[in-house]
């Protein structure tokens, strides 16, 4: 684990966001340092993806301040976030169905040669990137529309690695992935940390969270509900922060199964 | 308890609007005459005769439905006299009758609107077609009897196009060798240009000796296509539009039909004011025509003229339709001098 020092690269102070009649985020705080992996966890509909989208510029915030390397910044559209050095993998992927794998990977950051697209260089690089994530895709020239759920997810992850970000945000990156690909992504997260990047990882899988995260921030019904050092916190503590109760479906299920086993 | 709209009903907007005359013109896409000439001439005449009279004008954009709406709107506004240039003269039977029931008088302008109209001012459309045919025969001269002719007609969906066509056939069928190709140009220059191209491909470059074009706009495109293939045969149009007069000057077009809009408009204006003021129209409308069941409609019937290079001065310029300067732009200066216009 890398030691965290100095001011956070990214900090959210009192961020709120409302959709029509739904107050999705209320006064949320979050800090990410260089070389730190922050896991963002919470129940379904807790507001995790909404938080990510406010950082990535997809939904501008209603209230609050976003600070980048100590200075307040305004992120009004995805372009702003990218210019700062924030790369995001969205839960809903957001790929262009009609473009092929190569086109999607380099969208917005195409490699050029004499001012025109350098398809050869991009295709070569795309193959390399996908190989590091050990995914098998029939051809990098078929449109995204023809890929399986997991294949699309890997393409989205690889997309975040093109360019040179300082913060990488992964919204449930392994949800659709097989065991092998999940392991590769966890490895990747660790490599990113080693290289001094800040990572925000959203996941419902506590085992994964405990394996790679340094701190865990819990969201509940759109509000902060505690922040924990992974090393010193138990599985149960996190889960009860997520569900807001020590007696929940998970514990009941475990108890029942234990009973059945008797 | 329910009933028909009847004349017994109170007269909606009779409220003191008796100084308004309605003017409904049919379209403005294929010909510029309506808004360039008819409308200002009529307005001028009406104001001359009745200084505080107002013209309520609307254009139907080639839609009978739209024209009916405009007609109804005028009546709702309390207009007592309507000068109606019907887009579809056949369709107005019920309109005119409804108007008459409400005490609104209709002057049929340019086209004889069916129904009990109070007066009629026009050139005869079939006569126009005949003149077009005769103009082409004259342009062909001695060779007319051995000449094959291509006809590019107006839009099949336009009832007036049929009348031009009938008139032209009346003359051409007997005086030329044959109509070797006949198509609708839909009143559109581009379409007419393509049709003549197809005619050339089908008949060969010397397969015809003259072209009938139902109006000047189409004639322009036809001439462009003929020239680009190096063919020179007489082409005639209708409307005496400025571009056509210029082509007459340069010798590209043989003739056009000039309907002197001013006398037509003057007559309409005078009739309308007379009707508005309750005067007799017989003094202006000296002849009569019959229209279906309606006999003896007081009418002013005017004669259209064929314009050729030779009589430009005596027609469109004399009538102040165009100034010499309009016609003789830099491009046509030399031709104008040669034609004695400048």
């Amino acid at each position: 684990m890398v030691h965290v020092t100095g001011a956070p690269v990214l900090a959210l102070r009192g961020v709120s966001k409302r959709f029509g009649a739904v107050q999705a985020l209320t006064d949320v705080q979050l800090e990410v340092h260089a070389g730190e992996v922050v896991a963002l966890v919470g129940d379904n509909g807790a507001g995790k993806s909404t938080l990510v989208k406010t950082i990535a510029g997809v939904h501008p915030i209603d209230e609050g301040v976003i600070e980048w390397e100590g200075k307040p910044v305004s992120i009004g559209r995805p372009h702003d976030a990218q210019a700062l050095g924030i790369a995001t993998v969205y839960q809903d992927l957001a790929l262009c169905d009609n473009l092929d794998v190569v086109g999607n990977l380099f969208l917005g950051r195409e490699l050029k040669r004499f001012g025109t697209l350098d398809e050869v260089a991009m295709e070569k690089r795309a193959r390399e990137l996908l190989d590091t994530l050990s995914i098998r895709i029939p051809s990098v020239r078929i449109p995204i529309a023809g890929l399986s759920g997991g294949q699309r997810q890997v393409v989205a992850i690889a997309r975040a690695l093109v360019g040179d970000p300082k913060i990488v945000i992964l919204d449930e990156p392994t949800a659709a992935l097989g065991v092998e690909q999940t392991a590769q992504v966890l490895d990747l997260v660790e490599r990113l940390r080693e290289r001094g990047l800040g990572v925000i990882l959203i996941s419902h899988n506590m085992a994964d969270v405990k394996a790679v995260a340094d701190t865990v921030a819990v969201l509940r019904l759109g509000r902060n509900n505690g922040s924990f050092e992974v090393a010193t916190t138990s599985h149960e503590e996190i889960i009860s922060a997520i569900t807001g109760a020590t007696d929940n479906a998970v514990t009941r299920r475990q108890a029942r199964i234990a009973e059945d086993a008797k | 308890a329910c009933g028909k709209a009847g004349s017994d009903k109170k007269d909606g907007a009779a409220s003191g609007n008796n100084k308004s005359i309605g003017l409904l013109l049919p379209e403005n896409a294929s010909s510029t005459r309506y808004e360039s000439f008819d409308k200002p001439f009529i307005e001028a005449k009406v104001h001359e005769l009745c200084s505080d009279c107002k013209i309520e004008y609307a254009n139907a954009e080639a839609s009978a439905s739209k024209q009916k709406q405009q007609f109804d709107t005028l009546i709702a506004q309390g207009v007592k006299v309507i000068i109606l240039d019907a887009f579809d003269a056949k369709a107005t039977q019920t309109w005119v009758k409804e108007a008459a029931d409400k005490g609104v008088k209709v002057v049929a302008y340019d086209r004889l609107a069916s129904g009990p109209v109070s007066a009629y001012v026009s050139f005869d459309n079939e006569k126009v077609g005949e003149l077009q045919g005769q103009g082409l025969v004259d342009a062909l001269g001695a060779k007319a009897a051995e000449s094959n002719v291509v006809m590019i007609n107006g839009d099949d969906a336009d009832p007036n196009a049929a009348q031009f066509k009938t008139g032209a056939h009346k003359v051409l069928d007997s005086k030329v060798k044959g109509i070797v190709y006949e198509q609708s140009g839909e009143w559109k220059p581009t379409v007419a240009g393509q049709k003549i191209g197809a005619a050339i491909s089908s008949l060969g470059k010397d397969g015809f000796q003259g072209v009938y074009s139902a109006n000047d706009g189409m004639a322009g495109a036809i001439i462009t296509q003929l020239k680009s293939q190096g063919i020179s045969v007489p082409v005639g149009g209708q409307d005496a539009s400025l571009d056509a007069i210029q082509r007459l000057v340069s010798g590209d077009q043989a003739f056009t039909i000039y309907k002197a809009y001013k006398p037509l408009a003057d007559a309409a204006g005078e009739l309308a004011v007379n009707l508005l003021q309750g005067k007799d129209v017989k003094g202006v409308a000296t002849s009569t025509v019959d229209s279906g069941a309606d006999k003896g409609i007081p009418s002013v019937l005017l004669d259209p003229k064929v314009v050729t290079k030779a009589n430009i001065k005596d027609t469109v310029i004399a009538d102040k339709l165009y100034k010499v300067a309009d016609i003789c732009t830099a491009d046509f200066a030399a031709a104008c001098t040669a034609a004695g216009l400048q």
Binding site: R252 | C2, A5, G12, N59, K68, Q69, Q77, K90, P159
Partner: protein, 418 residues
């Protein structure tokens, strides 16, 4: 299937993040203010636009709001309005139908020629005409949903072909005048309450009562089932607003000749189609197909049939609209239902608030939209604007009407998940 009790019943707590509306009128106004701010305006901009248009023309001409002018406008909206209703149906599918104008023209031609030239009973001729329209729609639907040709192209081909058919049917003799006092002619000239105004009032009051009863019954059932329901105060207010509009319109129209039959029929058809769309399984299927074809297909919906039937309905409505137009102009001619008519119908549907992207809209928007367009046209005609200027103003006003609408919709759109 899940009637069994769940093993771990969680109490159905209300989401604390949901801003619940306060009770009573204050709550209603509060929510209304919030909606205006966040851009959910509904048909408010169109209604405001309509009021502005009416005010401007009334001020300019002095007789725009006279009884007989209002009567005229309400008579004229029926034909294009029915076509616009058809457009709403296809827009709900996320598709377009360019042939509706030609279908209207062809229908009018067929019915008129049959009745006038062939001497067929006029009611029968009307039925045959509408059946033909539905058949044309079925043909479009077949090529679109079974063969898979894009709807824009099918209906583009239809537009050309059926206007050709219209020309052929009308033939060399040209324009066909309506039979005097016939079915088609009466469409335009018949007035409810002409002579006896009681009937006109009765129709107006009946529609208000039906509305109030429906709302009250619904609220009662919801309360009984333990679901949140509309408070009585709100129902009273909504009924009140509707009552004022209906009664004022009825009053003004009664000043002239009573409720025009075309208006009554048009409003009736709009109300019925609205009911079909919102309250029946078939309507739900149309929305589903418009919202996501694949999702609808996987839900076991017969997508091809829904699409075909919608094209049949819209063609049928257009055909009916064509008969109204023929009635209004006194004849069926070769130009009936030309390109402008179609453009107006599409514009009307969209101005009224039906989305071009499918799955969102109401048939009432056809009524509102065509009212806006007809008011502008009539007003400009009355002012005597020059043709070129008239084109430009119509274009500009259309734009202004939808800019407002679009800006207000933007917030909602940006909330959509991508």
């Amino acid at each position: 299937m899940s009637t069994e009790t769940p093993t771990t019943p969680t109490p159905p707590a209300v989401d604390p993040r949901l801003l619940v509306r306060k009770e009573g009128l204050a709550g209603y106004l509060d929510e209304f203010g919030r909606k205006v701010r966040s851009g959910e305006l509904g048909s408010l901009p169109v209604v405001v636009g309509l009021i502005i248009i009416a005010a401007v023309f009334q001020w300019k001409t002095g007789h725009f709001l006279n009884a007989d002018n209002v009567t005229n406008i309400t008579k004229w909206i029926a034909g294009p309005g029915l076509i616009a209703t058809g457009v709403v149906f296809v827009l709900l599918l996320g598709e377009i139908d360019l042939s509706l104008g030609s279908v209207a023209g062809a229908t009018a031609a067929i019915s008129s020629v049959l009745a006038v030239r062939q001497g067929v009973n006029e009611w029968l001729a009307v039925l045959i005409g509408i059946a033909a329209a539905v058949a044309l729609g079925a043909l479009h639907g077949f090529f679109f949903s079974k063969i898979g040709v894009p709807a824009l192209l099918v209906t583009l081909a239809g537009m050309l072909a059926w206007s050709g058919l219209q020309n052929l049917v009308i033939g060399k003799l040209g324009t066909v005048n309506n039979l005097n006092d016939g079915v088609i002619a009466n469409l335009d000239t018949y007035f409810l309450g002409d002579g006896d105004i009681v009937w006109a009032w009765l129709a107006a009051i009946l529609s208000i009562a039906l509305f109030a009863a429906g709302q009250l019954l619904d609220a009662r059932r919801r309360t009984a089932a333990g679901l949140p329901a509309r408070p009585i105060a709100e129902i009273a207010m909504r009924t009140g607003v509707l009552a004022v509009i209906v009664l004022v319109v009825a009053y003004v129209l009664n000043q002239d000749r009573g409720l025009p039959l075309p208006l009554v029929l048009f409003v009736g058809i709009v109300a019925i189609t609205d009911f079909v769309l919102r309250r029946t399984g078939y309507g739900r299927q149309i929305f589903a197909v418009g919202g996501g074809i694949e999702a609808a297909r996987r839900a076991g919906i017969n997508v091809a049939w829904v699409r075909t039937s919608v094209y049949m309905i819209s063609a049928g409505l257009a055909g009916l609209g064509g008969l109204f137009i023929a009635s209004q102009q006194g004849s069926a001619d070769k130009g009936l239902g030309g390109a402008n008519m179609l453009m107006n119908a599409i514009a009307a549907a969209v101005i009224g608030g039906t989305s071009l992207f499918g799955g969102r809209g109401k048939t009432w928007s056809a009524l509102l939209g065509i009212l806006v367009i007809q008011s502008i046209t009539t007003g400009l005609d009355m002012v005597g604007a020059e043709q070129a200027i008239q084109y430009m103003i119509t274009g500009a006003v259309l734009l202004a009407a939808v800019v407002l609408d679009s800006v207000s919709r933007r917030t909602q759109k940006s909330n959509g998940r991508g």
